[in-house]
Protein backbone atom coordinates (compact mmCIF):
# COMPACT_ATOMS: atom_id res chain seq x y z
CA UNK A 1 0.00 0.00 0.00
CA UNK A 2 2.88 2.34 0.51
CA UNK A 3 4.64 1.46 -2.69
CA UNK A 4 4.69 4.65 -4.67
CA UNK A 5 7.37 3.75 -7.14
CA UNK A 6 8.37 0.74 -9.19
CA UNK A 7 11.25 -0.97 -7.44
CA UNK A 8 14.57 -0.21 -9.04
CA UNK A 9 17.43 -2.68 -8.78
CA UNK A 10 18.80 -2.66 -5.25
CA UNK A 11 21.75 -0.36 -4.94
CA UNK A 12 24.92 -1.87 -3.56
CA UNK A 13 28.00 -0.72 -1.71
CA UNK A 14 30.89 1.05 -3.39
CA UNK A 15 29.10 1.70 -6.64
CA UNK A 16 31.06 3.10 -9.52
CA UNK A 17 28.52 5.84 -10.45
CA UNK A 18 28.52 7.17 -6.87
CA UNK A 19 32.32 7.28 -6.73
CA UNK A 20 32.43 8.81 -10.21
CA UNK A 21 29.94 11.50 -9.16
CA UNK A 22 32.10 12.57 -6.20
CA UNK A 23 35.20 12.50 -8.42
CA UNK A 24 33.50 14.75 -10.97
CA UNK A 25 32.72 17.23 -8.21
CA UNK A 26 36.35 17.19 -7.09
CA UNK A 27 37.72 17.56 -10.60
CA UNK A 28 35.43 20.48 -11.46
CA UNK A 29 36.32 22.16 -8.18
CA UNK A 30 40.00 21.48 -8.77
CA UNK A 31 39.76 23.40 -12.03
CA UNK A 32 39.08 26.51 -9.93
CA UNK A 33 42.10 26.20 -7.59
CA UNK A 34 44.66 23.94 -9.30
CA UNK A 35 47.20 26.70 -9.76
CA UNK A 36 47.80 27.41 -6.08
CA UNK A 37 47.65 23.74 -5.10
CA UNK A 38 50.05 22.72 -7.82
CA UNK A 39 52.39 25.56 -6.95
CA UNK A 40 52.72 24.62 -3.28
CA UNK A 41 52.73 20.87 -3.90
CA UNK A 42 55.64 21.07 -6.31
CA UNK A 43 57.61 24.08 -5.16
CA UNK A 44 57.86 23.09 -1.50
CA UNK A 45 59.57 19.72 -1.95
CA UNK A 46 61.72 21.21 -4.65
CA UNK A 47 62.98 23.80 -2.18
CA UNK A 48 63.76 21.02 0.28
CA UNK A 49 65.56 19.17 -2.46
CA UNK A 50 67.63 22.16 -3.50
CA UNK A 51 68.36 23.34 0.05
CA UNK A 52 69.41 19.95 1.37
CA UNK A 53 70.90 18.77 -1.90
CA UNK A 54 73.21 21.75 -2.24
CA UNK A 55 73.50 22.69 1.42
CA UNK A 56 74.42 19.28 2.75
CA UNK A 57 75.65 18.21 -0.65
CA UNK A 58 78.60 20.56 -0.24
CA UNK A 59 79.58 18.78 3.00
CA UNK A 60 78.83 15.20 2.02
CA UNK A 61 79.20 14.11 -1.54
CA UNK A 62 78.00 10.54 -1.11
CA UNK A 63 75.43 8.89 1.12
CA UNK A 64 74.70 5.16 1.20
CA UNK A 65 76.55 4.81 -2.07
CA UNK A 66 74.55 7.51 -3.92
CA UNK A 67 75.42 11.04 -4.81
CA UNK A 68 73.72 13.18 -2.18
CA UNK A 69 71.57 15.19 -4.63
CA UNK A 70 70.32 11.91 -6.09
CA UNK A 71 69.71 10.50 -2.62
CA UNK A 72 67.62 13.50 -1.60
CA UNK A 73 66.02 13.86 -5.02
CA UNK A 74 64.51 10.41 -4.76
CA UNK A 75 63.72 10.80 -1.06
CA UNK A 76 61.76 14.05 -1.41
CA UNK A 77 59.32 12.31 -3.74
CA UNK A 78 57.86 10.83 -0.57
CA UNK A 79 57.80 14.27 1.05
CA UNK A 80 55.84 15.66 -1.89
CA UNK A 81 53.42 12.73 -1.70
CA UNK A 82 52.93 13.14 2.06
CA UNK A 83 52.39 16.91 1.91
CA UNK A 84 49.96 16.72 -0.98
CA UNK A 85 47.85 13.94 0.54
CA UNK A 86 47.79 14.07 4.36
CA UNK A 87 47.17 17.85 4.48
CA UNK A 88 44.30 18.00 1.98
CA UNK A 89 42.92 14.84 3.63
CA UNK A 90 42.80 16.68 6.95
CA UNK A 91 42.04 20.28 6.07
CA UNK A 92 39.83 20.04 2.97
CA UNK A 93 37.78 17.25 4.49
CA UNK A 94 37.21 19.14 7.71
CA UNK A 95 36.28 22.33 5.87
CA UNK A 96 33.95 20.47 3.52
CA UNK A 97 31.92 18.73 6.15
CA UNK A 98 32.08 21.29 8.94
CA UNK A 99 32.04 24.70 7.31
CA UNK A 100 30.83 24.30 3.74
CA UNK A 101 28.41 21.45 4.53
CA UNK A 102 29.35 19.98 1.17
CA UNK A 103 29.01 16.45 2.51
CA UNK A 104 25.39 17.08 3.53
CA UNK A 105 24.67 17.96 -0.08
CA UNK A 106 26.48 14.92 -1.45
CA UNK A 107 24.93 12.49 1.02
CA UNK A 108 21.43 13.68 0.11
CA UNK A 109 22.18 12.23 -3.34
CA UNK A 110 22.49 8.44 -3.77
CA UNK A 111 26.02 8.38 -2.33
CA UNK A 112 27.00 6.62 0.91
CA UNK A 113 29.69 7.76 3.31
CA UNK A 114 31.93 4.86 2.32
CA UNK A 115 31.73 5.87 -1.34
CA UNK A 116 32.34 9.49 -0.48
CA UNK A 117 35.45 8.71 1.57
CA UNK A 118 36.75 6.30 -1.07
CA UNK A 119 36.34 8.82 -3.87
CA UNK A 120 37.97 11.62 -1.88
CA UNK A 121 40.99 9.44 -1.00
CA UNK A 122 41.29 8.20 -4.60
CA UNK A 123 41.30 11.70 -6.00
CA UNK A 124 43.84 13.00 -3.48
CA UNK A 125 45.90 9.87 -4.20
CA UNK A 126 45.95 10.63 -7.93
CA UNK A 127 47.03 14.19 -7.26
CA UNK A 128 49.73 13.03 -4.81
CA UNK A 129 51.03 10.49 -7.34
CA UNK A 130 51.32 13.26 -9.92
CA UNK A 131 52.89 15.86 -7.63
CA UNK A 132 55.30 13.25 -6.28
CA UNK A 133 57.03 13.25 -9.64
CA UNK A 134 58.08 16.91 -9.36
CA UNK A 135 61.22 16.37 -7.22
CA UNK A 136 62.22 13.45 -9.40
CA UNK A 137 62.00 15.67 -12.49
CA UNK A 138 64.12 18.29 -10.75
CA UNK A 139 66.67 15.64 -9.78
CA UNK A 140 66.71 14.42 -13.39
CA UNK A 141 67.45 17.97 -14.47
CA UNK A 142 70.36 18.00 -12.02
CA UNK A 143 71.88 14.90 -13.48
CA UNK A 144 70.05 11.88 -12.06
CA UNK A 145 70.16 9.12 -14.67
CA UNK A 146 66.73 8.11 -15.99
CA UNK A 147 65.66 4.50 -15.55
CA UNK A 148 62.63 2.42 -16.57
CA UNK A 149 61.74 1.78 -12.95
CA UNK A 150 60.97 5.48 -12.52
CA UNK A 151 57.82 4.97 -14.59
CA UNK A 152 56.40 3.19 -11.54
CA UNK A 153 56.95 6.22 -9.28
CA UNK A 154 53.53 7.83 -10.00
CA UNK A 155 51.90 4.53 -9.12
CA UNK A 156 53.80 4.20 -5.83
CA UNK A 157 52.99 7.83 -5.09
CA UNK A 158 49.30 7.20 -5.76
CA UNK A 159 49.23 4.15 -3.51
CA UNK A 160 50.92 5.94 -0.61
CA UNK A 161 48.95 9.13 -1.31
CA UNK A 162 45.69 7.19 -1.04
CA UNK A 163 46.77 5.88 2.36
CA UNK A 164 47.91 9.28 3.67
CA UNK A 165 44.75 10.94 2.33
CA UNK A 166 42.68 8.34 4.18
CA UNK A 167 44.82 8.98 7.27
CA UNK A 168 44.00 12.70 6.92
CA UNK A 169 40.28 11.97 6.51
CA UNK A 170 40.42 9.75 9.60
CA UNK A 171 41.95 12.61 11.58
CA UNK A 172 39.41 15.10 10.19
CA UNK A 173 36.56 12.76 11.16
CA UNK A 174 37.93 12.42 14.68
CA UNK A 175 38.98 16.03 15.41
CA UNK A 176 36.53 18.39 17.04
CA UNK A 177 38.28 21.53 15.83
CA UNK A 178 40.82 22.41 13.20
CA UNK A 179 43.32 23.34 15.97
CA UNK A 180 43.50 19.66 16.95
CA UNK A 181 45.43 19.05 13.75
CA UNK A 182 48.48 20.67 15.35
CA UNK A 183 48.86 17.68 17.66
CA UNK A 184 48.83 15.28 14.75
CA UNK A 185 51.21 17.36 12.68
CA UNK A 186 53.73 17.82 15.52
CA UNK A 187 53.47 14.42 17.16
CA UNK A 188 53.00 12.18 14.13
CA UNK A 189 53.64 13.72 10.74
CA UNK A 190 56.83 15.66 11.52
CA UNK A 191 58.66 12.72 13.19
CA UNK A 192 57.49 10.30 10.49
CA UNK A 193 58.64 12.73 7.85
CA UNK A 194 62.10 13.02 9.44
CA UNK A 195 62.73 9.32 10.08
CA UNK A 196 61.79 8.13 6.64
CA UNK A 197 65.28 8.05 5.19
CA UNK A 198 64.58 11.10 3.08
CA UNK A 199 67.51 13.32 4.04
CA UNK A 200 69.78 10.79 5.77
CA UNK A 201 69.88 6.98 5.82
CA UNK A 202 68.21 5.37 8.81
CA UNK A 203 71.17 3.00 9.50
CA UNK A 204 72.86 5.76 11.48
CA UNK A 205 69.90 6.12 13.86
CA UNK A 206 69.65 4.41 17.27
CA UNK A 207 67.98 0.98 17.27
CA UNK A 208 64.60 2.17 18.51
CA UNK A 209 64.42 4.84 15.82
CA UNK A 210 65.29 2.25 13.19
CA UNK A 211 62.47 0.05 14.40
CA UNK A 212 60.14 3.03 14.24
CA UNK A 213 61.28 3.75 10.69
CA UNK A 214 60.50 0.16 9.72
CA UNK A 215 56.94 0.75 10.88
CA UNK A 216 56.74 4.06 9.02
CA UNK A 217 54.94 3.67 5.69
CA UNK A 218 56.72 6.78 4.45
CA UNK A 219 60.09 5.03 4.87
CA UNK A 220 58.85 2.17 2.70
CA UNK A 221 57.74 4.64 0.05
CA UNK A 222 61.17 6.30 0.11
CA UNK A 223 62.79 2.88 -0.37
CA UNK A 224 60.44 1.98 -3.23
CA UNK A 225 61.13 5.23 -5.06
CA UNK A 226 64.89 5.00 -4.53
CA UNK A 227 64.94 1.44 -5.78
CA UNK A 228 62.75 2.41 -8.74
CA UNK A 229 65.49 4.86 -9.70
CA UNK A 230 68.57 2.80 -8.82
CA UNK A 231 67.39 -0.80 -9.20
CA UNK A 232 64.78 -2.93 -7.44
CA UNK A 233 65.80 -5.31 -4.67
CA UNK A 234 63.29 -8.14 -5.10
CA UNK A 235 61.89 -9.39 -1.80
CA UNK A 236 62.74 -6.20 0.10
CA UNK A 237 60.67 -4.17 -2.33
CA UNK A 238 57.76 -6.59 -2.13
CA UNK A 239 57.79 -5.93 1.62
CA UNK A 240 57.95 -2.18 0.97
CA UNK A 241 55.04 -2.41 -1.45
CA UNK A 242 53.14 -4.62 1.01
CA UNK A 243 53.54 -2.11 3.86
CA UNK A 244 52.44 0.84 1.69
CA UNK A 245 49.43 -1.10 0.40
CA UNK A 246 48.50 -2.44 3.82
CA UNK A 247 48.72 1.04 5.32
CA UNK A 248 46.42 2.33 2.59
CA UNK A 249 43.83 -0.39 3.11
CA UNK A 250 43.86 0.00 6.88
CA UNK A 251 43.54 3.80 6.77
CA UNK A 252 40.79 3.56 4.13
CA UNK A 253 38.67 1.29 6.32
CA UNK A 254 39.28 3.35 9.45
CA UNK A 255 38.48 6.61 7.63
CA UNK A 256 35.22 5.21 6.22
CA UNK A 257 34.23 3.90 9.63
CA UNK A 258 34.97 7.13 11.53
CA UNK A 259 33.41 9.36 8.91
CA UNK A 260 30.24 7.27 8.93
CA UNK A 261 30.04 7.74 12.70
CA UNK A 262 30.62 11.44 12.26
CA UNK A 263 28.15 12.13 9.48
CA UNK A 264 25.27 9.74 10.17
CA UNK A 265 23.54 10.40 13.46
Amino acid sequence: MTTAAPRAARLRRLERPAIAGVLVREIINFSSFWRSTTFSATVEPTIYLLAFGFGFGSLVSEVAGYEYVEFVGTGTVATAVLFSSAFPGMFSTFIKYKFQRTYDAILAAPVDVEELVTAEALWIGVRAGTYGCAPLLVALAFGLDPSWGMLLVPFFGFLAGFGWAAFGILIAATATSIENFNYVISAALTPLFLIAGTFFPIDGLPGWAQTLAQLNPLYHLVELVRHAAFGFEGAADLVNLGVVTGFGLLMWRLAAWRMEKRLIE
Partner: protein
Protein backbone atom coordinates in the same frame (compact mmCIF):
# COMPACT_ATOMS: atom_id res chain seq x y z
CA UNK B 1 -6.87 9.79 5.58
CA UNK B 2 -7.63 7.23 2.88
CA UNK B 3 -5.50 4.18 3.65
CA UNK B 4 -5.35 3.21 0.00
CA UNK B 5 -3.74 6.42 -1.25
CA UNK B 6 -0.15 5.70 -2.23
CA UNK B 7 2.26 7.48 0.08
CA UNK B 8 5.48 9.22 -0.87
CA UNK B 9 6.47 9.34 2.79
CA UNK B 10 5.20 7.18 5.61
CA UNK B 11 6.48 7.43 9.17
CA UNK B 12 5.05 5.36 12.01
CA UNK B 13 6.05 5.82 15.63
CA UNK B 14 9.47 7.16 14.69
CA UNK B 15 11.72 7.97 17.63
CA UNK B 16 15.14 9.63 17.45
CA UNK B 17 17.20 10.34 20.54
CA UNK B 18 20.44 12.25 20.89
CA UNK B 19 21.82 11.19 24.25
CA UNK B 20 19.23 12.21 26.82
CA UNK B 21 17.31 14.44 24.38
CA UNK B 22 14.45 12.94 22.41
CA UNK B 23 14.26 15.04 19.25
CA UNK B 24 11.54 12.98 17.58
CA UNK B 25 9.18 11.20 19.96
CA UNK B 26 6.89 8.80 18.15
CA UNK B 27 6.14 10.72 14.97
CA UNK B 28 3.49 9.59 12.47
CA UNK B 29 3.65 11.40 9.16
CA UNK B 30 2.06 10.76 5.77
CA UNK B 31 2.77 12.54 2.52
CA UNK B 32 0.33 11.23 -0.12
CA UNK B 33 1.80 11.09 -3.61
CA UNK B 34 1.37 14.34 -5.53
CA UNK B 35 0.57 16.52 -2.54
CA UNK B 36 2.43 19.19 -0.64
CA UNK B 37 2.59 18.68 3.11
CA UNK B 38 3.80 21.49 5.35
CA UNK B 39 5.69 20.58 8.48
CA UNK B 40 5.13 23.33 11.02
CA UNK B 41 6.54 23.68 14.45
CA UNK B 42 8.50 25.98 16.72
CA UNK B 43 12.28 25.77 16.88
CA UNK B 44 13.30 22.54 18.57
CA UNK B 45 10.07 20.73 17.66
CA UNK B 46 12.02 18.13 15.68
CA UNK B 47 11.51 19.34 12.10
CA UNK B 48 15.17 19.31 11.13
CA UNK B 49 15.75 15.89 12.68
CA UNK B 50 12.75 14.59 10.74
CA UNK B 51 14.30 15.92 7.54
CA UNK B 52 17.60 14.22 8.40
CA UNK B 53 15.81 10.93 9.03
CA UNK B 54 14.21 11.16 5.60
CA UNK B 55 17.55 11.65 3.83
CA UNK B 56 19.25 8.85 5.75
CA UNK B 57 21.55 11.26 7.60
CA UNK B 58 20.03 10.17 10.89
CA UNK B 59 18.89 6.66 11.77
CA UNK B 60 15.68 6.20 13.77
CA UNK B 61 15.96 4.49 17.15
CA UNK B 62 12.43 3.13 16.90
CA UNK B 63 9.56 3.02 14.45
CA UNK B 64 9.17 2.54 10.73
CA UNK B 65 10.01 4.93 7.97
CA UNK B 66 9.56 4.56 4.25
CA UNK B 67 10.18 6.99 1.41
CA UNK B 68 8.77 6.32 -2.07
CA UNK B 69 8.08 2.76 -0.94
CA UNK B 70 11.65 2.12 0.19
CA UNK B 71 12.26 1.18 3.80
CA UNK B 72 14.68 3.38 5.70
CA UNK B 73 17.43 3.28 6.67
CA UNK B 74 18.25 0.10 4.69
CA UNK B 75 17.05 1.26 1.28
CA UNK B 76 17.67 4.94 1.82
CA UNK B 77 19.99 5.15 -1.16
CA UNK B 78 17.22 4.10 -3.57
CA UNK B 79 14.91 6.64 -1.99
CA UNK B 80 17.55 9.36 -2.28
CA UNK B 81 18.06 8.58 -5.97
CA UNK B 82 14.46 9.67 -6.62
CA UNK B 83 14.25 12.53 -4.13
CA UNK B 84 15.55 16.07 -4.20
CA UNK B 85 16.65 17.92 -1.07
CA UNK B 86 16.73 21.67 -0.54
CA UNK B 87 18.66 22.22 2.69
CA UNK B 88 18.04 25.05 5.08
CA UNK B 89 21.67 26.16 4.95
CA UNK B 90 23.10 26.91 1.54
CA UNK B 91 25.76 24.33 0.64
CA UNK B 92 26.45 25.25 -2.97
CA UNK B 93 30.01 25.13 -4.27
CA UNK B 94 30.65 28.85 -4.14
CA UNK B 95 33.76 28.98 -6.31
CA UNK B 96 31.98 27.17 -9.15
CA UNK B 97 29.60 28.69 -11.66
CA UNK B 98 25.84 28.22 -11.61
CA UNK B 99 26.07 25.72 -14.44
CA UNK B 100 28.96 23.79 -12.88
CA UNK B 101 26.96 23.32 -9.68
CA UNK B 102 24.13 21.79 -11.69
CA UNK B 103 26.48 19.62 -13.75
CA UNK B 104 28.01 18.19 -10.55
CA UNK B 105 24.59 17.18 -9.28
CA UNK B 106 23.56 15.75 -12.65
CA UNK B 107 26.51 13.40 -12.11
CA UNK B 108 25.78 12.73 -8.45
CA UNK B 109 22.21 11.82 -9.37
CA UNK B 110 23.54 9.48 -12.03
CA UNK B 111 21.96 10.98 -15.11
CA UNK B 112 23.20 9.37 -18.30
CA UNK B 113 25.61 11.12 -20.64
CA UNK B 114 22.82 12.23 -22.99
CA UNK B 115 20.40 13.28 -20.26
CA UNK B 116 22.76 15.64 -18.48
CA UNK B 117 22.79 18.55 -20.90
CA UNK B 118 18.97 18.83 -21.22
CA UNK B 119 18.56 18.29 -17.45
CA UNK B 120 20.93 21.16 -16.67
CA UNK B 121 19.16 23.42 -19.21
CA UNK B 122 15.80 22.55 -17.70
CA UNK B 123 17.05 23.31 -14.18
CA UNK B 124 18.49 26.63 -15.37
CA UNK B 125 15.10 27.48 -16.87
CA UNK B 126 13.22 26.50 -13.68
CA UNK B 127 15.48 28.73 -11.60
CA UNK B 128 15.36 31.48 -14.23
CA UNK B 129 19.15 31.56 -14.19
CA UNK B 130 19.93 30.73 -17.82
CA UNK B 131 21.57 34.11 -18.38
CA UNK B 132 23.67 33.64 -15.23
CA UNK B 133 25.00 30.22 -16.10
CA UNK B 134 28.62 31.37 -16.13
CA UNK B 135 28.40 33.46 -12.97
CA UNK B 136 30.25 32.20 -9.93
CA UNK B 137 27.91 31.37 -7.07
CA UNK B 138 29.63 33.79 -4.68
CA UNK B 139 28.64 36.60 -7.06
CA UNK B 140 24.90 35.76 -6.92
CA UNK B 141 22.30 37.52 -4.77
CA UNK B 142 20.69 35.63 -1.88
CA UNK B 143 17.50 35.04 -3.86
CA UNK B 144 19.38 33.69 -6.87
CA UNK B 145 21.39 31.36 -4.66
CA UNK B 146 18.23 29.99 -3.16
CA UNK B 147 16.72 29.47 -6.61
CA UNK B 148 19.85 27.63 -7.65
CA UNK B 149 19.66 25.50 -4.52
CA UNK B 150 16.12 24.49 -5.49
CA UNK B 151 17.05 23.93 -9.13
CA UNK B 152 19.94 21.71 -8.01
CA UNK B 153 17.48 19.52 -6.12
CA UNK B 154 15.31 19.19 -9.25
CA UNK B 155 18.00 18.41 -11.81
CA UNK B 156 17.13 14.69 -11.87
CA UNK B 157 13.35 15.21 -12.01
CA UNK B 158 12.68 13.73 -8.55
CA UNK B 159 9.33 12.27 -7.52
CA UNK B 160 9.68 13.75 -4.05
CA UNK B 161 11.19 17.03 -2.92
CA UNK B 162 12.16 17.80 0.66
CA UNK B 163 12.29 21.52 1.36
CA UNK B 164 13.80 22.55 4.68
CA UNK B 165 12.77 26.14 5.45
CA UNK B 166 12.96 27.12 1.77
CA UNK B 167 12.45 30.87 2.20
CA UNK B 168 14.05 31.58 5.56
CA UNK B 169 15.86 34.90 5.66
CA UNK B 170 14.66 36.15 2.25
CA UNK B 171 12.89 39.35 1.19
CA UNK B 172 9.11 39.16 0.69
CA UNK B 173 9.57 39.63 -3.08
CA UNK B 174 12.02 36.76 -3.32
CA UNK B 175 9.82 34.63 -1.10
CA UNK B 176 6.85 35.11 -3.42
CA UNK B 177 8.96 34.16 -6.39
CA UNK B 178 9.97 30.93 -4.64
CA UNK B 179 6.38 30.20 -3.68
CA UNK B 180 5.42 30.41 -7.35
CA UNK B 181 8.21 27.97 -8.14
CA UNK B 182 7.10 25.51 -5.46
CA UNK B 183 3.48 25.84 -6.49
CA UNK B 184 4.39 25.00 -10.06
CA UNK B 185 6.28 21.95 -8.89
CA UNK B 186 3.23 20.75 -6.97
CA UNK B 187 0.93 21.34 -9.92
CA UNK B 188 3.23 19.12 -11.98
CA UNK B 189 2.55 16.26 -9.56
CA UNK B 190 5.74 16.24 -7.51
CA UNK B 191 5.26 15.17 -3.90
CA UNK B 192 6.59 17.78 -1.49
CA UNK B 193 7.40 17.87 2.20
CA UNK B 194 8.21 21.38 3.31
CA UNK B 195 9.30 22.32 6.78
CA UNK B 196 8.71 25.93 7.62
CA UNK B 197 8.00 28.25 10.45
CA UNK B 198 6.41 30.85 8.18
CA UNK B 199 2.81 30.01 8.72
CA UNK B 200 1.67 31.98 5.70
CA UNK B 201 3.92 29.80 3.57
CA UNK B 202 2.22 26.63 4.78
CA UNK B 203 -1.23 28.17 4.43
CA UNK B 204 -0.58 29.12 0.81
CA UNK B 205 1.29 26.10 -0.46
CA UNK B 206 0.35 23.06 1.61
CA UNK B 207 -2.54 20.74 0.85
CA UNK B 208 -2.17 19.50 4.36
CA UNK B 209 -0.12 20.57 7.35
CA UNK B 210 1.40 18.66 10.22
CA UNK B 211 1.95 20.71 13.35
CA UNK B 212 4.84 19.35 15.39
CA UNK B 213 5.53 19.99 19.02
CA UNK B 214 8.09 18.24 21.21
CA UNK B 215 8.86 15.67 18.52
CA UNK B 216 5.27 14.65 17.85
CA UNK B 217 2.52 15.53 15.40
CA UNK B 218 -0.11 17.37 17.44
CA UNK B 219 -2.46 18.19 14.54
CA UNK B 220 -2.76 16.97 10.97
CA UNK B 221 -5.03 18.15 8.19
CA UNK B 222 -5.74 20.74 5.50
CA UNK B 223 -5.08 24.26 6.85
CA UNK B 224 -8.73 25.36 6.57
CA UNK B 225 -10.00 22.33 8.46
CA UNK B 226 -7.44 22.75 11.23
CA UNK B 227 -8.44 26.39 11.61
CA UNK B 228 -12.14 25.50 11.90
CA UNK B 229 -11.48 22.61 14.27
CA UNK B 230 -9.06 24.31 16.61
CA UNK B 231 -9.67 28.05 16.37
CA UNK B 232 -13.16 28.46 14.90
CA UNK B 233 -13.96 30.48 11.77
CA UNK B 234 -13.47 33.91 13.29
CA UNK B 235 -11.27 35.57 15.87
CA UNK B 236 -11.80 38.79 17.78
CA UNK B 237 -8.83 40.94 18.67
CA UNK B 238 -9.04 43.08 21.77
CA UNK B 239 -6.48 45.85 22.23
CA UNK B 240 -5.64 47.63 25.44
CA UNK B 241 -3.05 48.13 28.17
CA UNK B 242 -1.56 44.94 29.68
CA UNK B 243 -3.83 45.02 32.73
CA UNK B 244 -6.91 45.23 30.52
CA UNK B 245 -5.64 42.36 28.36
CA UNK B 246 -5.23 40.15 31.43
CA UNK B 247 -8.87 40.91 32.40
CA UNK B 248 -10.09 40.12 28.89
CA UNK B 249 -8.24 36.78 29.06
CA UNK B 250 -9.76 35.86 32.39
CA UNK B 251 -13.30 36.73 31.21
CA UNK B 252 -12.82 34.78 27.99
CA UNK B 253 -11.58 31.69 29.79
CA UNK B 254 -14.53 31.87 32.18
CA UNK B 255 -16.85 31.93 29.15
CA UNK B 256 -15.07 28.89 27.67
CA UNK B 257 -13.23 30.71 24.89
CA UNK B 258 -9.62 30.15 23.94
CA UNK B 259 -7.20 33.05 23.77
CA UNK B 260 -3.79 33.85 22.50
CA UNK B 261 -1.59 36.88 22.96
CA UNK B 262 -0.37 38.55 19.79
CA UNK B 263 1.97 40.94 21.57
CA UNK B 264 -0.22 44.04 21.40
CA UNK B 265 -3.61 42.39 21.71
CA UNK B 266 -5.42 39.32 22.91
CA UNK B 267 -7.09 37.21 20.22
CA UNK B 268 -10.27 35.47 21.35
CA UNK B 269 -10.81 32.14 19.60
CA UNK B 270 -13.30 29.25 19.54
CA UNK B 271 -16.11 31.78 19.75
CA UNK B 272 -18.93 29.18 19.47
CA UNK B 273 -21.64 31.77 18.93
CA UNK B 274 -20.23 34.30 21.42
CA UNK B 275 -19.84 37.78 20.01
CA UNK B 276 -17.39 39.69 22.22
CA UNK B 277 -16.54 43.29 21.42
CA UNK B 278 -13.36 43.92 19.45
CA UNK B 279 -11.91 43.76 15.93
CA UNK B 280 -13.22 40.74 14.04
CA UNK B 281 -11.01 38.88 11.61
CA UNK B 282 -10.92 35.39 10.07
CA UNK B 283 -9.03 32.90 12.27
CA UNK B 284 -5.75 31.74 10.74
CA UNK B 285 -3.24 28.97 10.96
CA UNK B 286 -1.06 31.01 13.28
CA UNK B 287 -3.87 30.95 15.85
CA UNK B 288 -3.98 27.17 15.61
CA UNK B 289 -0.21 26.96 15.80
CA UNK B 290 0.02 28.99 18.99
CA UNK B 291 -2.97 27.23 20.57
CA UNK B 292 -1.42 23.83 19.96
CA UNK B 293 2.25 24.47 20.56
CA UNK B 294 1.88 26.83 23.49
CA UNK B 295 2.61 30.51 24.04
CA UNK B 296 5.96 29.99 25.71
CA UNK B 297 9.06 29.77 23.62
CA UNK B 298 10.27 26.18 23.63
Amino acid sequence: MAASAPLAIRLRGVVKRFGSITAVAGLDLDVPVGTCVGLLGPNGAGKSTTMKLLTGQARPDEGQASVLGYELPGDSKQARAQSGVVPQLDNLDTTLTVEQNLVVFAHLYRLGRRERRPAVERALAIANLADRRDTRVDKLSGGMRRRLLIARALVHHPQLVLLDEPTVGLDPQVRQELWALIDRLRSEGTSILMSTHYIEEAERLADSVVIMSHGRAVAVGPPQRLIEEHAGAEAVEVYGPPARLAEVEAEAHAAGLATRRTGTSVALLRLNGHAPAGDRRPANLEDVFVLLTGEEIQ
